[in-house]
Symmetry: C2
Subunit: 211 residues, 2 copies
């Protein structure tokens, strides 16, 4: 692993804090404060904020500062529609490229999800769930598909996270992975993408309830 540069480090920390929910949508990010906090000048801070803005995690107004992106229900619906399509495409491609390794990685990620869900570890489940979907992205063998899928995942992270309120929510989510895996492992592209579509739709229904 190559040592991350200063701005990559800042980028990672902020991304993490947003996905965890420490920085909530609508919050303003003050360059000067961040500079002081990270012990650097404003220059690398601005660079990191720029990159995060390009990823859609932050939004920037004209001479008006940078904010954690917040979306209306309408916008959220559009983002989820796009994510829905991309996830379905990933499932489709993955189903056609499965091999022993990718199957094992998906299964492994799923077992981590179940473990976290059963022990009621919310933060652990969030991580495991992301890893599960990442395993599917990786199974596509296509880093470009994986990249955009990951980007949407990050953008919607703060909103999706809210839907895991009770321990039962975690278990329900983990169990719904079971069908999805079966559909993808069928190696039939239509079955796989439809499986993902219904998984994503269910996820969005839950998400809309809490946003």
């Amino acid at each position: 692993m190559t040592t991350p540069s200063t701005v990559q480090r800042i980028e990672m920390v902020l991304t993490e804090e947003i996905s965890v929910g420490e920085l909530t949508p609508g919050v303003r990010l003050d360059e000067a404060r961040l500079a002081e906090r990270f012990g650097v000048s404003r220059t690398p801070i601005r660079e990191a904020l720029n990159r995060l803005t390009a990823q859609g995690i932050l939004v920037a107004g004209e001479k008006r500062g940078v904010f954690v992106a917040e979306y209306s229900r309408e916008e959220l619906s559009q983002i989820f529609e796009a994510m829905h399509e991309i996830e379905a495409a990933c499932a489709r491609i993955a189903s056609q490229r499965l091999n022993l390794l990718s199957r094992a990685e998906i299964e492994h990620a799923q077992s981590e999800c179940l473990a976290a869900a059963q022990s009621g570890d919310r933060a652990g489940y969030l991580r495991a769930n992301e890893a599960f979907h990442m395993a599917i992205y990786k199974a596509t063998g296509n880093p470009y598909m994986a990249e955009i899928a990951t980007e949407f995942r990050r953008r919607t992270g703060p909103f999706r996270a809210k839907k895991f309120a009770t321990a039962q929510d975690l278990i329900d989510s983990a169990e719904s992975h079971r069908d999805l895996i079966e559909n993808i492992f069928s190696e039939d592209s239509t079955t796989a993408s439809n499986g993902m579509r219904s998984h994503m739709t269910a996820s969005f229904v839950q998400t809309l309830k809490v946003n």
Copy 2:
């Protein structure tokens, strides 16, 4: 139309030069030289380069400068696969949301394509063709889908442009739009996405020949 800021202007100019082919893949972009050329300091240049890097149009090495992205055949194949999926998804959504306006806009863009093709105006056709696909993106009613589709279009621009060598190439391309429009206007999502898939596949076959 809001007046573009300095860095937006730089971004637009560079994007244009890359898509036109004035700046070819692999070329290094010198910050100092660009600063001098645009009559600004290195700071806004760096910001623009950063944004373009985030969009995948440029690639940046560690302390090694910024280059116009160049892709191997393998990478090109992966990018086109992703683009293929996204375009198909756009066609799918657009077919479900068509209205009088979006139909008209798509037809209008197509007539511009035909006009440019018939008069052998290569540069004009490139623009018109982009506008045609943009009209489909717009017809999705989903700015997020449109955004990623546009991004892929920009990334692949320099490679796709090469395939239009003769006047006949333009005419062939414009005529192949005809079927695509019919498929999308059928308002059947499967027909629409399959139509786009075959259009994109044909496009990629031609692209691979010249890359």
